[in-house]
Subunit: 783 residues, 2 copies
């Protein structure tokens, strides 16, 4: 085994024993290296250390820090896998394709069902709570009503928070940033675990039903991804449920595809927007995309749409308790004739500009609040619970207290609905008002978020809401939305932003209604679009989601204009909210473009040694030592005389593959090419990647001192086609290669002859701005 | 200059003169090589030769063969460009971004205007023609009516064909395959020329107005791309209109982005579907995609939508002749209540399966017809004209003759429209029928294609069309659609397929209407979707386009199911129609995935010599010779002693950059590093890529015999960061690298030390199946 530093390569390649000593001496150096960490517990340390140079780094949010592992989308080409390709029958290929589609179907079905269950549960829980409060209000027991309302909320909130704090801390928050990071190649293990799935579903129901200003959309995306991961994981070894035909998916590429489908299915189930779901996955979630995947994702969301449609039809006959009204389209405003003239564009542009500013302010404040909360949350589960309770009480106070500020509005005569509202549903809450009057603010605050949005979007209702009520509601939800995100419950960002945006749109409408003849509902919709554009920074997917939410194609050009303007304005100030959270969580996200300063560096500038490499036929003891004392996941394999004329790079061998060979003890007592042993005794599937850190660990091995002196032929498990760059390759182009091909390791080879055949390995962390600026502080200064 | 073969590298690197002789001796070999051709006239020869091994190759279609050039999306990093980066001011960067968006705006504006002009021209020309025929029919002058109708058609068709045959043969056909190939990196120069743009616009108007079963959608995509190319080209050197601020776009990457925007704008203008346009560009047209581009494309199509909406409003007051009715949505069926039950899915699945079969049959027949027509078209423009005339007469006979087969239907009393139709528009053509009767087949055939589709899609009209009429119409348009594509007029495929599909859908409806209660218009829509899915094989974009065409969101799940099934069925039999045409035209299209057999080959297996390389400081004479006697576009530059300790790969120099240095005569009389001369005398923009083969040519140079003996320092113009693969890299992974990064040249470096630092260059052609199977015929047999 040879150990070298990138900068001063050790030319003495023959003396293995000496090198072995060198290794032992340098153990501490190696541990200090920032090479890609393995999944074991100390894994995040190097990352965090490499980030200490920047000032803005804070502790990970969500309190419980989870180990991070990079994913590898590179095609591993070793002799064993090649043998497997050759022996692959047509039936097996067909089976593989069939399974992929079956899984897409299953993901769609399950996500659709879960989304539907979520809907029913929320509507019934929240509905019961509101009915109770309403009943007590009618009998003028105002304090009792508040007590009942607030305690219902606190109980639901605490239940959700307890699940989150004690069972799966990773389930807190939106989940979209984590899914996005996973699809970029960063696996924070717990994030897609079954426990997370369980808590995400029930925590989200509790959180939304508790009246928080949170949505179920982000959590649905996360839920979809968890379902996909669970299905694709291939059973559970723990419960002896290992389905052999699932071995096909035991690699990062196929899992990534499944999880992309899951994320799309989540959006489709949350918004009942199948096309929007596909586009969301494409534009926001996924980092790599293939047209075959587009099609499969499309299939998944189609299944979701069909399932939801059938179930919603079933519920119309009153089988689902308080859930029952409404069709597939959540906020149908297609009936409205929404004419607008070219002059109206001025008002729309004004709306979009301010919306963009409000959106970027939202992101800024969410960031600050998250950083504050993370300090509280880190103190332990109890503090998490206390925070949730406090916010829940505050929310209850706002929703119940603020409507008292509103004046009572007399019911209009030409209304089709009963006014004031009887029972739970309906837009005209009586609240404290005399008969035949309604409290417009109560109709917004004391309603489910979905109903409030529907009220605001409804057309021809310009005079239904007073300006002061709208202003109070806007300020209320804008603030509550910001301070709610970050507490220990699953919480989506879409609904808060739509709520604030819709009330903001109506406010702008009241400003312009004397000048322009334009509908208030339309302005509410455009306001929502502008705030969404300002926070999420998506374009096509938001546009299609808005379209599928409202079923009004005629407003499409206006929505496009609004989104373009608000995104442009907001982009001047900060990043999109999901990108911001990814950055804050310290996940090493690879951007699609290279940073400008990377053009002035070359690959060798960021490679840092020491590099641990193996011989083609290596002593078992050396392998075990290297695995034990480094956390590297890939080791270069170098053929040396007598196996080649001169030292040459044979390829790259993975830690997980080495562990399988060590476990199976395929050794020979002589230093000879004994690769045939592996080829006959192993199958490619033995080297499949296990899910969720269930892979072999070094501690599982039991190797005798005698075996330590034997040799293992690494050739059959060496990936002979690793991607390489010359050390003088510009870092920008190396980063592009790394990102576009979804690599985990990129070998750096020397430019000049007569040196060892590899000078270092680049991993994801080497491309992170924090790492580069740590080495070259002047870049940070120039920036 | 060193000349080596990939297989047996010449180790003698010092003796340049000897090598020079070797070069002269091997000139014929070099000419025989299949290295990437330059743009000059013999350019396509190597491609064609390399393809002769396969049996299915036929001559290029469109008769006039145009030179093909590969595009290079790699970032060139040489000293000159690096110098430029460093000196770039913030104002310049802002200017660049501003220009990109301005161009997106301009493309949207222009394409919107052209699309609108196209609409008005077609509606007025075709409207006048149909009015004339109608008038003559009313006075029972049947033969005269036919004569007038047919001669109008022939005149319009001949005009369009004459434009096509004599001015711009490249404008014939849909244009989508060529745009798709361009965006994949294959530039067939004439395809985006101004003359092509001119002919495409007017030819398309003539063709559609002439009553052919062709659409304006494909041509609009091509038009959009041409407009984008023209705008992005940076003025015309010929007319001294070179705008210096356009120098930013003088590279393939920025042009590709502009043309993607143009293609999206084309779809948006043709279908008035802005989101559909973006998705079309994303799913079908573009091979590379970035989220920044998504946003810019979205902006372009938003501009198109706003422009169209404003112009259509303007026309409503009758300012545009016969064009005036209708809104932004072409076939609005949102008013229809389209309920469907889960049982109805059976009928829909049946429809989709047969639709998929019909779609793949369509593709098969289009392929056969194209191959037949290409033989006729190659004989010369006159034959092209004759073919167009023949098809025009046949079309006229069909549209005028077939309605005589239909029975007259009495007008229903509860119709809202006048029956029979008065004037041009309207769905109830009187034709030969007695008063108060209408001929349903004439209402389909003797109408513009758009109106016929609107008739078929209209809901609640199950009894308006007879089964025999629908059958005749379906067979008529299905056949006419197939035999019309390939004649020398701009012709889109969308409208023929939608027409055939809609009538097919209604036919299936008559089959199922006794069993299921489902709307005939809905079935027409689903029929169109199924046939589109079966021919085009798109998913999300078709879905959104259908949505934007019809404004009926409720049918979305059904459309998704239909598209999925029909695409799956059709994919069993053949490729999508555009892929088929790309293949038939012999354009070297790089697929996103590597073929399975590539896994069994390595990069060195397909590299074929001889390789021509330069020294870092090279004799001018050698450069001129190499440029003259090879058609290579990239040459490796190798540093040799005394400039380095051992031969090492310095990088890659481009033909176009060499020509600039030769033109500027930046030579030195000694063999020394004189690169500073280039850095001071040139700017990066001098090396920008000229448009449409306008770049410097070798013939433009005038180099004296004395200068031939001087030296040029190639270092400042050498791209020092070319992507490289080791010769033992599997071809599949090399292909992935090549495709994902949009390369033109991929350097193959040796695995073992002590050999020359480069063994060959892979270009697009080396990855083509025809080339590989030419070298390894057994692969073709195994396949």
């Amino acid at each position: 085994m040879a150990e070298r530093t990138g900068a001063a390569p050790d030319q003495d390649l023959e003396n293995n024993d000496k090198d072995m000593w060198a290794l032992r001496r340098n153990i501490s150096d190696i541990l200090e290296s920032h090479q890609e960490p393995h999944l074991q517990s100390p894994a995040r340390e190097p990352l965090l250390r490499s980030r200490t140079n920047t000032t803005s780094q804070i502790a990970l949010i969500g309190a419980n820090v989870c180990p991070i592992e990079s994913l590898d989308y590179e095609l591993i080409e070793n002799d064993l896998i090649k043998q497997n390709w050759r022996s692959r029958t047509k039936a097996q290929i067909f089976q593989y394709i069939f399974l992929k589609w079956t899984f897409a179907l299953l993901i769609g079905l399950t996500t659709g069902l879960v989304g539907f269950f979520n809907n029913i549960a929320v509507e019934n829980l929240a509905g019961f709570k509101l009915l109770l409060a309403n009943y007590l209000m009618l009998s003028r027991k105002y304090y009792l009503a508040f007590a009942a309302y607030a305690s219902c909320n606190v109980v639901l909130a605490t239940a959700a928070a307890a699940l989150c704090a004690y069972i799966a801390p990773a389930a807190a928050g939106s989940g979209i940033p984590e899914v996005k990071a996973y699809l970029n190649g960063v696996d924070a293990h717990v994030i897609l675990a079954p426990s997370t799935l369980f808590v995400k579903i029930f925590g989200s129901i509790g959180g939304v039903a508790a009246g928080f200003v949170v949505g179920k959309e982000g959590p649905m995306v996360h839920t979809g991804a968890c379902i996909a991961n669970l299905l694709g994981q291939g059973g559970s070894r723990k419960y002896h449920l290992t389905w052999t035909w699932l071995r096909f998916f035991k690699n990062d590429r196929d899992r990534r595809d499944l999880i992309t489908c899951g994320a799309a299915a989540g959006v489709a189930a949350a918004f009942r927007a199948p096309v929007g779901g596909v586009l969301f996955a494409l534009e926001e979630a996924a980092s790599w995309w293939r047209s075959a995947l587009l099609w499969r994702t499309f299939f998944t969301t189609a299944v979701v749409a069909v399932v939801l449609r059938a179930l919603i039809r079933f519920c119309r006959s009153g089988n689902c308790g308080l859930f029952g009204k409404g069709g597939l389209i959540m906020f149908d405003v297609s009936s409205a004739v929404t004419g607008y003239k070219t002059d109206d564009l001025l008002a729309v542009i004004f709306l979009a500009v301010i919306g963009g500013l409000l959106g970027s302010l939202y992101n800024y404040l969410v960031d600050k609040v998250l950083r504050t909360y993370s300090i509280i949350n880190e103190k332990g589960p109890r503090f998490k619970l206390l925070l949730v309770m406090a916010i829940s009480l505050l929310t209850s106070c706002c929703s119940y207290g603020l409507p008292w500020l509103a004046k009572c509005t007399p019911c209009s005569i030409d209304l089709k609905e009963p006014c004031p509202t009887i029972g739970r549903s309906g837009n005209f809450k009586n609240f404290q008002c005399p008969p035949n009057h309604y409290n417009d603010l109560a109709s917004l605050f004391l309603n489910t978020n979905d109903d409030a949005i529907r009220n605001l979007f409804s057309t021809g209702t310009g005079k239904e809401f007073q300006v002061t009520s709208l202003l109070i509601f806007f300020l209320g939800v804008y603030t509550l939305g910001i301070i709610t995100y970050g507490i220990a419950i699953p919480s989506g960002l879409f609904i808060p932003v739509i709520l604030a945006g819709a009330s903001y749109g109506r406010l702008v409408w009241t400003l312009f209604s004397p000048i322009f003849e334009i509908d208030a509902g339309l302005f509410a919709l455009l306001g929502a679009a502008s705030l969404l554009g300002g926070t999420m920074r998506m374009t096509v997917s938001l546009c299609v989601i808005m379209l599928e939410l409202t079923n009004n194609l005629l407003i499409l050009p206006l929505v496009m204009v609004v989104l373009l303007i608000s995104k442009t304005i907001a982009d001047i100030f900060n990043k999109g909210v999901y990108d911001q959270i990814v950055e804050m969580k310290g996940l090493p996200f690879m951007e699609a473009h290279a940073e400008p300063y990377m053009k002035h560096l070359v690959a060798a500038d960021v490679v840092s040694g020491p590099l641990v490499s193996f011989n083609g036929v290596e002593k078992v003891g050396n392998i075990v030592h290297a695995l034990k004392w480094t956390r590297h996941n890939g080791f270069p394999v170098i053929d040396e005389p007598p196996f080649s004329d001169a030292p040459e790079l044979c390829g790259l061998v993975l830690r997980s593959h080495l562990l399988v060979v060590l476990k199976k003890k395929i050794f020979s007592s002589e230093r000879v090419l004994s690769g045939q042993g592996i080829l006959t005794r192993c199958k490619a599937f033995d080297f499949g990647k296990a899910g969720l850190g269930k892979g072999l660990k070094l501690e599982d091995l039991d190797i005798s001192a005698e075996e330590m002196e034997m040799y293992a032929d690494l050739h059959p498990i060496t990936n002979t086609s690793p991607y390489t760059v010359v050390e003088s390759m510009s870092l920008a182009k190396a980063a592009l290669l790394f990102r576009e091909l979804g690599l985990r390791h990129l070998c750096v080879v020397p430019k000049t002859p007569g040196r060892p055949p590899i000078t270092g390995i680049l991993t994801r962390h080497d491309f992170m701005p924090e790492h580069i600026m740590g080495i070259y502080p002047h870049i940070a200064r120039c920036k």
